[in-house]
Subunit: 129 residues, 2 copies
Amino acid sequence: MALRESGEDYLESIYVLSERQSTVRSIDVAEYLGVTKASVSKAMATLESNGYVEMGKRDVHLTERGLEVARQMWERHCFFVRLLEDAGVSAEVASQEGCHMEHCLSEESFEKLRSMLAREETSNSTTES
Amino acid sequence: MALRESGEDYLESIYVLSERQSTVRSIDVAEYLGVTKASVSKAMATLESNGYVEMGKRDVHLTERGLEVARQMWERHCFFVRLLEDAGVSAEVASQEGCHMEHCLSEESFEKLRSMLAREETSNSTTES
DNA sequence: ATGTTTTGTGAAACATGGCTAACTTTTTAA
DNA sequence: TTAAAAAGTTAGCCATGTTTCACAAAACAT
């Protein structure tokens, strides 16, 4: 079963939270994403049955497979947030909207876009400095 | 009731089709979007009750309100497709993925992003020519 | 140790947005 | 003009992803 946008968001939030704290519980994910704990419970069951997370008695953690997706999403998130902030969008709005943009592109397209914009940035900073 | 992504897609497709042909029917929208005519019928009823379209006996057309959204979506679509193509993404993939990106940003953020990238393009073409 | 609070789960409901199938209405062609 | 084809609608179903509410289990504090 393919991962949907919401599944990617859950994985990403587990990843982000696990960098802040030693263990991640359902309730942490719920608070982070602003959904109910019932929603998390349901989502975790699906993600676990598809091998993206493992649920301990009092924590959830990413499998290799889940970690790969989560890292990728977080990388994209940061990329789009930075892009929007560079454009003059507030941090808060950039974060919200970046959350959606991160799910739109294939890996290949994302890399191409990132490369192009990195080149532009380099050439601009050269001319502007 | 706020417009969702699918609603925006329906409006956009009516807009695009109306530039190609004198009248737009449900079936045209269905073929364009690759959904069934039943789905279009349902969607049109909702869009009409929210004042985005008006349905004649044998055509659908955008209201002022609908046209505004449709134009905006189409503009964004073209922007993102061009951006992706510039990055080296194939026309087909760029069109598919641009379809999703166009729904992610607020008007304000989109304008900021567009302005920034336009500036970069200008400064690059200056340095590169 | 036990009572309270926190966390997690399960069931039922709702909204969205698709689908198919059956039907009606309109258009077209013989 | 009438039969067939095309277009549109309606009803019912499905999947996703939420919610609330009730309950179970775990953690914590006194």
